[in-house]
């Protein structure tokens, strides 16, 4: 079971790292999208990045707490 745990931990680590990288790119891309929306007066483009950034932050929070969540589920079931 040790190697399985190690591989799972590695996958979780990669997931969190990818979430963190996505957050940085989303903030930067959201800024540009907002600029374009502001310049061409397109409210949809100006507003949607804000919601997207919040969703990505929530996703990062969930990814960071993946292990406690799965442990809680396992603890509740077994």
């Amino acid at each position: 079971m040790g190697p399985v745990k190690a591989i799972s931990a590695e996958i979780v680590g990669w997931g969190v790292a990818i979430c963190a990288a996505t957050l940085a790119v989303t903030i930067a891309l959201g800024g540009i999208e907002g600029q374009v929306g502001e310049f061409f007066s397109i409210p949809g483009l100006s507003v949607s990045p804000r919601v997207r950034v919040i969703v990505v932050i929530l996703a990062l929070a969930i990814a960071a707490s993946a292990v406690p969540i799965s442990n809680a589920v396992v603890g509740a079931l077994w």
């Binding site: 790292a17 990288a21 800024g31 540009i32 600029q35 502001e38 707490s65 292990v67 442990n71």
Partner: protein
Amino acid sequence: MTKTRLVQFAVLIGAPGLRRTVYRLFVAFIAALLLCQIALPVLADGGPGGGAMAGLASLVKMAVDGLIVLAALAMTFAIAFTGVMSIFSKMAGMPYAEANATMKIIGVVILFIITAFAIPLANAVIDNVMEYHSPEGIHIPSV
């Protein structure tokens, strides 16, 4: 039987929807290869604290730097264009259009600042979220 399946596959390949999907997959594959090409030197040299995670971080840093440059260009264009629009609206005696142009410049500048601070902002969020990261291992259920 085999021939029929081959004909079916050929018809499937001929479908324009599938062709489009295959083309998109091909473009995504080429993009992934290019990104790997950029990231690989970082992975190969190892270095202090090198490795796959460092490669990913470096790749994202490069992407964000590119986006900051793009945002700066967009801001320059927006300021120039909106400035001209503001001059014309002042000339034509249209205060609403002038105020609109001013607000547009302010919005674009604020958004550029947010883009320029993307990495510190992301780091702040990551540091705060990772404070709650549990060092506990994964529980494997015993069946």
